[in-house]
Point group: C2
Chain length 520, copies 2
């Protein structure tokens, strides 16, 4: 067994089943080993940012990491942006970064770079494997380091791959879990929320149906509000889920949302903060004098803490306040953000997965679908554009029996459009909705908010936000990847096409032509 084979075998033994790959020469023995070792699915991506975003989406849904296979420093560079999203979302990912043979590095060949530097900048743990005798142990350590919520990178020199591994494979380890919250903290949170007139639990990460139900019980027992962070990693919602608020994106609106709160209990989320800084707008969003209490940080077990808090409050028998199923009529007339959101809410199938990178057009979709059929919703956790299409790839690989709907801005689609090819190749059950308004509409909004040039862009600045010159035809692009696609310009067309896409299994794109969100 060579190093690469022992590496893959160890990954499989430790529950890692999928490798999102964009390999090069230094990874050829790893690629060869996919045929020698059972149990590892290789999913090819045409660009490393697709691989890393897919690993993020996979782990959000599977609850365990996939690996990426990347080609030296530049491969990791291409993967970096979506790894950033995974880190900010506390999602486990393992990177296998192929490198030159150990003895070849001294010659500074063209693909030699500061691999340690770039890998350190994006990894919670970095392991630089040095010998084939150690690679399997290193792999086991990487899996352990990634779980439950970290990015671990394993640098795999080519000679470590191709040399024999004489060592026995390491023992299989149980994956790491989140840390329990102490009983003292539960008591303190119960105390704070009970005595507060205007308490709020601010919750982040994965908000499962079960977690939502517990939070609703706490809310009813104490009178506190429940508010989800602006960009949760994953939230189970729709009919049967607990009613929860969501913090608005815009700092001014978020400040308004929090203005009455006197006690903020953090559960798997950092304290709320403005996404960007703006002149004369505070970065901190809660009011002065508000008590902040961290019940569970992102390394701690929010769900167990919520159960314990319910028990502490004797609220186990309280009925949670749940959303019913209430589907809007299918819209007619113009296609815009509102009618698009209405059609989506009406048509979301049971147990669907929504990947939201719809930017300004997507804004209306979340509130509209609160009482849609039960579904999971995933968001752009780290603000690094280009996560949506790759995340949909990963979610569909993790959950082949669930429909994935990807809401994607036209601008953001163009960061990782290559993901369409992998959707077709793997025949993933993904419906992509391009929210095509021919603008960096969010930047128009932000330009005004930053007060630059009095909020009025000049000719050159306006041109930097205008992606309609030339206009992009996503139907043509999708067909370039062999993907079925259609364009919708009215609410009726969109509803018909979305219904058809949902009823038919397999990849499909809808180029939804919508006007820009009108601001101010």
């Amino acid at each position: 067994m060579n190093g690469a084979e022992s590496l893959i075998k160890t990954l499989v033994n430790n529950g890692v089943e999928v490798c999102f790959s964009n390999p090069g020469t230094s990874e050829m023995h790893f690629v060869a080993a996919l045929d020698e070792v059972d149990g590892m699915r290789g999913v090819l991506a045409l660009f490393e940012g697709v691989a890393s975003g897919a690993a993020d989406g996979y782990a959000r849904m599977a609850g365990k990491p996939a690996v990426t296979l990347l080609h030296l420093g530049p491969g990791l560079g291409n993967a970096w942006a979506n790894l950033h999203n995974a880190r900010k979302g506390n999602v486990p990912v393992i990177n296998i970064i192929g490198d030159h043979a150990t003895y070849h590095l001294q010659y500074d060949a063209p693909l030699t770079s500061d691999l340690k530097g770039i890998a350190s900048s994006i990894s919670d743990t970095l392991i630089q494997s040095q010998s084939s005798a150690e690679i399997a142990d290193d792999a086991a350590a990487a899996v352990a380091a990634a779980s439950p919520n970290n990015v671990a990178s394993l640098v795999l020199p080519a000679d470590v791959s191709w040399s024999d591994n004489p060592s026995p494979l390491p023992e299989v380890r149980a994956p790491n879990t989140l840390t329990p919250v102490s009983p003292e903290k539960i008591k303190e949170a119960a105390n704070l929320l009970s005595k507060s007139d205007a308490g709020m639990i601010f919750v982040g990460g994965y908000i499962s149906t079960e977690l939502g139900h517990q939070l609703s019980r706490i809310s009813q027992a104490t009178g506190c509000r429940i508010c989800v962070e602006t960009f949760p990693t994953r939230i189970s919602r729709g009919a049967g889920s607990a009613k929860v608020e969501k913090l608005p994106y815009l700092a001014e609106m978020a400040i308004d949302h929090l203005k009455e709160v006197d006690t903020l209990v953090l559960l798997g989320a950092p304290a709320p903060v403005s996404f960007f800084a703006y002149p004369n707008v505070p970065s901190v969003l809660q009011p002065d004098g508000c008590t902040i209490y961290e019940l569970a940080n992102t390394d701690e077990d929010s769900l167990a803490a919520a159960h314990a808090l319910v028990a502490e409050l004797d609220a186990e028998t309280v009925e949670p306040a749940l959303n019913g199923e209430q589907l809007p009529e299918l819209p007619t007339g113009d296609l815009d953000a509102m009618t698009l959101a209405q059609a989506l809410a009406a048509l979301i199938p049971d147990n669907a997965i929504i990947v939201d990178e719809g930017a300004t057009t997507g804004l209306a979709c979340y509130p509209f679908s609160e009482q849609a059929k039960p579904h999971d919703w995933m968001t752009l956790t780290g603000g690094s554009i280009g996560y949506g299409l790759p995340c949909a790839v990963g979610a569909a690989v993790a959950c082949p029996d669930r429909k994935v709907i990807c809401l994607e801005g036209d601008g953001s689609a163009m960061y990782t459009i290559q993901a369409l090819w992998t959707m077709v190749r793997e025949q993933l059950d993904v419906t992509v909705v391009i929210c095509n308004n021919s603008k960096y509409n969010i930047l128009e909004l932000e330009f005004a908010r930053t007060g630059a040039r009095g909020g009025k862009p000049g000719k050159k600045a306006a041109s930097m936000m205008d992606i309609g010159n030339p206009s992009m035809d996503f139907v043509a692009m999708a067909r370039g990847f062999g993907m079925q696609a259609s364009r919708a310009t009215t609410a009726e067309e969109f509803s018909t096409q979305l219904a058809e896409a949902i009823q038919t299994e397999g990849p499909r794109l809808i180029d939804a032509v919508v006007p820009c969100l009108q601001l101010g």
Copy 2:
């Protein structure tokens, strides 16, 4: 004048005229300042890897840097791979990396990352600007640090952009130049080459017509060979250029190419080394006992050194051995790497710029075009795939009066396909030739050479090199960006379409369907 305006004004004063941009919220004051300050052209890219590759291509042709405008750590991540190519090619690039306001960083907002870490890993110089009073000086320092051949990164916090700059602008500085080579080194090189029976000058970087002529004189005066590195940054060639060799890519062939050499004089190139390591193939390519003498490193002035060496050898009046113009017939019959190369050599227009990322299909194009009309040829200096289309954007912006022809593999095209949009937007005079063989053909070759699985890929491994499932239609993709495009499947079709593209100004794509290179 705010910080952003003083920054752009300083860049312009110091000769920087073009900004390849993919901005976000934190860069809005920079974008606004494009309208307030004269002299900076903003070229929008849909992805940061296009911006950085374009800055590389621009500087290779303009001989001075452009700036990129990038959005925090993830924007730099996306730009990283093509910055790697610029660094390996000793090409100057200045990155302006927008960051959160200085006071906002402490809150760890979603887009906060280890920006210093990733920026350090790809920059020769990193300047983290801290105040609007200093930003203009920092900008002048960044221009100085980038010239003549480095990557300099300037981190620009949003509040540094938007705050007033009360300081006077810095004085304009003359750009840095390459270091002269000492007379002693010239004498020593002359001595070594004169007494050697089998000397070779190994030359890299920018090999201008003038440099080629000087090298040819040295060759005739001393009997030494002249060999260009495998992936030069830029070489002026075709009719009227000196006859020079080029080191083959494959290590075995490179070793064979160098096997007689007893004295290797390095001129603007590091000593030759295998691109990758392979089991049982040496990394070092020159024969044992070969004397290596570094006449000029990549920071030294190769052209001046060559002139001095010619003078030292009293060879000023020696006629250089030049290539004549000898154009092949237009090919007929099957379209393959050979007939594609033949058509290209016949049709390259005078003073064209060839950007070569044609991978295996492109291999034949270089030797075939040795006696074509005079042209510049640029290559993938750092091995980081996805440089071709962006580099063509930058070259065309730098040289609006010259035709750019981009030879692009289908696999490599997919790393930065968004560059087509910028070509259309700016109406750049670029002809893109996609060498579409539906394979990672180079990986099939490399798989065999690494000896993985006895050189015979299994089913999964073969699938990782098969990008024909689904097959990609580059004509459809190009039309998705509003670009005129056609498909060629015979030599006649290709010749006709290439001739038409060359005669017509503006962006155009040819999807050239070719068989894989047959190996072994």
